[in-house]
Symmetry: C2
Subunit: 235 residues, 2 copies
DNA sequence: CCAAAAGTGTTGTGCCTACACCCATGG
DNA sequence: CCATGGGTGTAGGCACAACACTTTTGG
C-alpha cells in the first residue's frame, strides 16, 4: 500500500450488482431485472444493485438491495467479478462488485406482486437493452453458470424440493442449449448419489405416463458442492 | 441502484492487492511480498498493492503498484476476488480487489537488486505472518493456482522460453505436492500439442544424461488458454 | 387406440492407469 | 564404472458414447 495521503484524495464509490437466475418450466432460465426510475439510464432495464453502506459486508449489501428493489431473498450467492473501468458510470467513478445468485422457481410469484420498483424476469436468451455495462456483466454470469453445472450441483437452488427427473434434464438442456442423452444423464447423476427416488408419483398432468418424484440428498448435495464433480464428458 | 444521496455519504476506499507467483528450481513456487514501512502493520510482510487512482483501471493500478513497490512487470494478470469485510483494515473501510499474477523465473534477479521497498520472494509452503487478511488472500490464490493447472496451461508464464521436460514435471509436482507419473504426464502434454521438442540439447549440468529442450507452441498455448483442457484424471 | 412422456440395458471403444528398464553423460 | 537424470511402450480395466423399444397414462 502507498501512504494514506493518496487515499484521502480518492473519489471512487462502491456498488454491488446482483445477477439472479431463476428457473421454471414455461420461461426457462431467467434473470431478474429492474426498470430504473432515476438518472442516468432512466426507464431502462438494469441489474438490481446499489451503493454499499459503510458498515455492511458486500453480501449484506446485495441481500438488502434485492429485498428493497424486488422483494427477493436469495438462497445461493457467490461473488462473480468486480467491474471497475473508470467510465462505466457517467456520473462518477464507480466500481461494482457483481454477485451471482440462484432462486427457486416457487419464488417467482413473489415478484409479480411486488410493486416497490418495477421488476421482472427475462429469459436469458431474450434480454432487453441494459443500462451501463450490465450486458457484459450478465454475459459473464451466464458463462459462469454454464461452466458451473459441469462441476458442481446447482439444481437444488433452482428446482422445487420434489421434482421429476425430466425437470432436471430440461434444466440442463435449456442451459446448455442442446440435447443430452437421457439414459446416460440419469445413470451419471444417480451414480453420484446426488438425487434420491421418492416413492411418490407425480400427479399426471396432460397426456403421458406420470413420472416418479425425486429430491436431492441434502448431505450429498453439500458434499458435492464442496468437492465438485465432473460432468465434462457427459454434456 | 438506489439514489445518489446514498452515494454521497459513502466513505469507502478502494485498493488493489497483487499475489504474484514466481518459480525457479531452487526456491520452488514463491509469492512476492513487501515489508511495510508505514502504519498499520509496520515492519510486517504484506502483499504489494495500494489505492486505486481515480482515473486508472484496476489492472493499471496493480501494474503501477508492482513497479513502484518491487520493480516487477507482470506477464499474466487475472482478477482473483474482492475482499470487503468492514473491519479488514483498522484505519477505515477499505475494500481490496485482489489480482493474481505470474512472472518468469528469469525475472527473479531483478527484485534482489531493487531497493525502493524491501521486497522478497517466499516459498508458498513457508510464509511469514502477514498483515491484514493477506494470509486468507494468499490462500485463495494458491487454491486457484492449483486448480488452474488442471484446466489451462500456465507453464509459459513461469518457465524460461526453452526448458527441459523435467522442469515442467517438477513445476507440476511442486505445486500439487505429490509425484506424478512421468510417462503418462509426457504423453498427455504432448498429445495436446502444447509443447514442441526443439532439436537442441541442454548443456549437461552435473551428472546425468543431458535432456532435449522444449518450448511451448505459442498459438496452441493461446488456444488452450482460451478453451481450456482437462488434466483432472492425470494429476 | 393414439399421442405423449417415462422408464430402462448393452456393447464397443478409447482413454487412463500402472508399471520398469535402457541410455547418455560427468566425474 | 558408477551415479545421475533422461527417455521410452504396453496391457488391462473402466468409464463413456451411442443407440430404441416398451410402459403407462389421458383424451
Amino acid at each position: 500500500m502507498t501512504n494514506v495521503t493518496t487515499a484521502i484524495k480518492q473519489n471512487i464509490k462502491v456498488t454491488v450488482d446482483a445477477i439472479v437466475f431463476g428457473y421454471n418450466q414455461e420461461n426457462g432460465i431467467s434473470v431478474l431485472l429492474i426498470k430504473r426510475k432515476i438518472e442516468p439510464y432512466t426507464q431502462q432495464w438494469a441489474l438490481p444493485g446499489g451503493f454499499v453502506l459503510d458498515d455492511e459486508t458486500l453480501e449484506a449489501a446485495v441481500e438488502r438491495e434485492l429485498k428493497e428493489e424486488a422483494g427477493v431473498s436469495i438462497n445461493y450467492l457467490e461473488q462473480l467479478f468486480t467491474f471497475g473501468k473508470p467510465d462505466r458510470d457517467p456520473r462518477t467513478r464507480i466500481i461494482s462488485v457483481a454477485y451471482f445468485g440462484l432462486v427457486k422457481s416457487g419464488d417467482f410469484s413473489l415478484f409479480a406482486s411486488s410493486d416497490a420498483v418495477e421488476a421482472a424476469w427475462f429469459n436469458i436468451y431474450n434480454l432487453p437493452t441494459l443500462a451501463f455495462d450490465h450486458a457484459e456483466i450478465v454475459n459473464k454470469a451466464v458463462t459462469r453458470l454454464r461452466a458451473k453445472i459441469t462441476y458442481e450441483p446447482i439444481g437444488f437452488e433452482l428446482l422445487d424440493r420434489k421434482f421429476l427427473f425430466s425437470d432436471l434434464e430440461q434444466l440442463y438442456m435449456k442451459l446448455l442449449g442442446h440435447d443430452i442423452d437421457r439414459r446416460n444423464f440419469k445413470r451419471k447423476i444417480m451414480s453420484l448419489g446426488l438425487v434420491v427416488e421418492l416413492d411418490e408419483k407425480a400427479p399426471a398432468i396432460s397426456a403421458g405416463r406420470p413420472g416418479k418424484l425425486y429430491s436431492f440428498d441434502d448431505s450429498k448435495y453439500k458434499q458435492l458442492k464442496m468437492n465438485g464433480f465432473n460432468l465434462n464428458n457427459l454434456i
